[in-house]
């Protein structure tokens, strides 16, 4: 651990309880509030289905709280030390699921355990963030060099491409904001950013327009997203907008949304749960939940700002970038601003691995906050 800074912040040794009291519990409180809203909405969205997803999601939230407590207890520095083996384990799990996994919704990204399933990609995202944080913390320059950027990208691209091979495009996309957020904080010359962006666009456009034939493009698109069906996606988007719009200002009332209760809206307990919320609670509910997400992100950012070391800053930024992107993409997709792809909404959507990973993420962030003082 290098200590090149001259600015010193001293902390006295304090009892654990007082240290715990000084942590940003608002973060957990918002997470819990969102999880409660999520449970209620999952119940409403799935009450018409053969099985109510509420009890299962409640189990996942319970498991999530245990994982949260465990993460709070483990020092992130210890985790950081083991970040390479953890990362390797993540990659191995992603490789294994390619051969051994179960196919759900067209994607081979699941390990099935009876009625419960685990998605290693959710945990690989965490392990990748951990390794990337450790690596970037060691690059002690004002701006990153090209080689460093390449290496950082490589760390992300390896698991990401495995997820792409699993045909889980939504999950794969989520690696990019982690990389982008952390690189931004690490410092990338803006000229480089612009150049990379232009080069990427140019290469992509060239390959797409001249190297690929139509049927190949179709194959690529179908490969990336097996459920790609313009008509199907059109139906989903239309029903989602009808659900959202018909909620108007005050909503139709809990369990009273016709779009969700009469099953017009597909994927309503998972990726489109926010449409159910918008229908039943209206614009007021939408704003309320968006405010909760904003609170979560801003409080998390405060943790990053007062974190003890570079590793923890990167870690928190990476976790928040993933979280923020989930929230922004999902809510934008539900209202029709972005194309539909399988990206769930943290704490609201039904989903075991994702809920678990989200609570682990809260634990990691608050763990960083707990250990923000240089001396204990």
């Amino acid at each position: 651990m290098r200590a090149t800074s001259t600015s010193l912040t001293l902390a006295e040794d304090r009892p654990l309880l007082r240290q715990l009291a000084d942590v940003r519990w608002t973060l957990l409180a918002t997470a819990m509030l969102l999880a409660v809203v999520g449970l209620a909405t999952v119940h409403s969205a799935s009450s018409e289905l053969a099985s109510d997803y509420f009890p299962r999601q409640a189990v996942w939230v319970g498991l999530g709280l245990i994982a949260f407590a465990a993460m709070l207890g483990i020092d992130y520095q210890t985790l950081s030390k083991f970040s390479v083996p953890i990362y390797v384990a993540g990659v191995l799990a992603l490789t294994a699921v390619l051969f051994l996994g179960a196919v759900r919704g067209g994607a081979r990204s699941w390990f099935g355990f009876g009625s419960f399933g685990l998605q290693p990609s959710e945990f690989a995202k965490l392990s990748t963030t951990l390794l990337l944080a450790r690596y970037l913390a060691g690059t002690n320059r004002r701006y990153l060099q090209l080689g460093q950027i390449a290496l950082a990208s490589g760390i992300v691209l390896l698991p990401m491409s495995l997820v792409v091979l699993e045909r889980d495009l939504g999950s794969a996309l989520m690696f990019l904001p982690v990389l982008a957020g952390m690189l931004f904080v690490a410092g990338v010359r803006w000229q480089l950013l612009v150049a990379a962006l232009l080069l990427g666009l140019l290469l992509g456009a060239l390959v797409w327009n001249f190297a690929l034939l139509d049927y190949q493009k179709e194959r690529v698109l179908t490969f990336l997203d097996p459920e790609r069906d313009p008509l199907g996606a059109g139906y989903q988007l239309r029903q989602s907008k009808i659900a959202v719009g018909s909620g108007q200002i005050a909503g139709r009332g809990y369990m009273q949304g016709t779009q969700s209760q009469l099953r017009f809206l597909p994927a309503r307990h998972t990726d489109f749960i926010f449409a159910v919320l918008a229908e039943e609670w209206g614009f007021l509910g939408v704003v309320g939940v968006l405010l909760l997400y904003a609170m979560y992100i801003l409080n998390g950012a405060q943790v990053a700002i007062r974190a003890r070391d570079r590793t923890s800053v990167f870690l928190v930024v990476g976790l928040l970038a993933a979280f923020g992107f989930h929230v922004l993409y999902n809510t934008a997709m539900v209202v029709g601003l972005l194309p539909i792809t399988g990206i769930p909404l943290p704490f609201l959507s039904y989903g075991g691995s994702f809920t678990l990973a989200s609570f682990i993420s809260v634990g990691l962030i608050l763990g960083v906050d707990l250990r923000r003082y240089v001396n204990r």
Partner: protein
Amino acid sequence: MKRVREQREDLVSRVPGLQVACATLLVVIATAYWRVQVVQGDYYRELAENNRLRRVPIQAPRGLIYDRHGRHLVDNVPSYNLLLDRSVSADLPRALRFAAATLNRDGGDFEAALTKNAGSSRFKPVLLAENLSLAEVAKLGVAKLEFPEFQTQIEHLRLYRQGEITAHVLGYLGEATETDLRRPGFSYRPGDLVGRKGIERVFDRRLRGQDGERELVVDSFGRTRDEHGREAAKPGLRLDLTLDLELQQEAARYLEDRVGSAVALDPRTGEVLVLVSAPSYNPNLFTRRLDNEQWQALLEAPHHPLQNRAIQNAHAPGSVFKVLMGVAGLSEGTVDSGDSVFCAGQTTIYNRRTRCWLRSGHGWVNLRTAIKRSCDIYFYQLGQRLGINRIAHYARMFGLGSPTGFDIPGEKAGLIPDTKWSITHRKSPWYPGETVSVAVGQGPILVTPMQTARMVAAIANGGRLVTPYVAAGSPARVVDIDVDPNVLAEVQDAMWAVVNEERGTGGAARMANVEVAGKTGTAQVIEQKTWIRSKDLPFEQRDNAWFVSFAPMVDPELVIVVFVEHGGHGSDAAAPLVKRVYESYFNEPDAG
């Protein structure tokens, strides 16, 4: 041990940038929700309502129609249709084979129905077959578990009990056309059955009632979950006709193999008791959607069965017109009842040799005898003296040459010529020679049987021109004709003689217990050069036969007019029908 804090300000300084970016994007997204939920909220709320509510009409039972004695003329009978719900079909070809075998129908028809509906939503059931028997419905019900795609639907269809006998009065129903849908004051929906012809059309609004509606809550599979609202159907009102079914049947039976029409009406009110047009058609054919072939066959059938000959066909009245000539002559003082004319069987008028139908001649005839024996020569001379314009004046006074105002629409006006008409319509002057023809009901003069019946009624009732109607309770519209009752009495007496005196032409209508008065008419279809008996002519060239009548002589209750196309002489072809109908009428216990 004290540690020195790592240098991390460069990193931390960039975090607020991310915060701002994130917050900004959240605001952008919230704005998008504002737009969809608040600005366009009403639009999407309506789409959501359309998603979930299906409006299903409840068919209002159509009003029934009765004759004057309360006898059913029409029924609403339940009919079963077979519908196919493609959305729940597991093995469509197998299901279709099953249906074809169960209903013993051609599977090709089912395929055709499916092809026709290939473009519509899978959730919209396709009409596969109509008119299933109860046994077939039961068989499909038993197989419901195996073939859930089949639904049977009940529909109430119109059954005209008397079929062809009442076809031209009642009319029939048909699917609403574009014109119907735009008809002001009527709220027809596409696919509705509406009155096409006759009473069904005129009183459609009263008979159809008002369909109700069920508002069903359906899920995304179109399955009914709940009933949201219900507006009961208002049944159509019953309609009583002035028609007398027994008389109608009697007249129809007589005309069954003939071409022509019969009208019977009450000269006191204008109530129509009989209206038959032959050949007729079976209105029950129209109950289902008629296919093109059947329609073409009806259109091309000989003698146009769809035509209502009693009001839509105008013909020369022939000798029937002589009673009006008598009224005109007496009223104008042109003749006196005692004035006699010598009929030698032929005469020369305007340098043309003109014949009486009786070649041997009638000898000396006064008006009474001329009517009784239908002497042409007498009326040639009377016509000559009256002139066409005075003839036309009286003809019009008695309602000839214009629609009678009968409540079934489609009446022809017919034609009563005069000099003005000749100039304006023919662009040529009227020839006095034509007046002679018109005087015996030939030449350019056309009247409908209904008009003729109305004229006879006015003669019989002492000069009151009634408006015929068939819907009971219609306001009686009567016009008093400015004519001397004594004149009418003389003509009535002459008509009595036609039937009841020796050598009268209408003896065939004579009855033992009721005094019938009448007049025969035989209208030439072609100008005959030689005397050939009508029976020996080809059908289309045979004379048209008329018989007009009223009974009893005192306070007449019934006017009957019969017209048989190419029937030959009125006395042979038309009078027997009149007699039968009177017999039936006066033998009814509750006659009148």
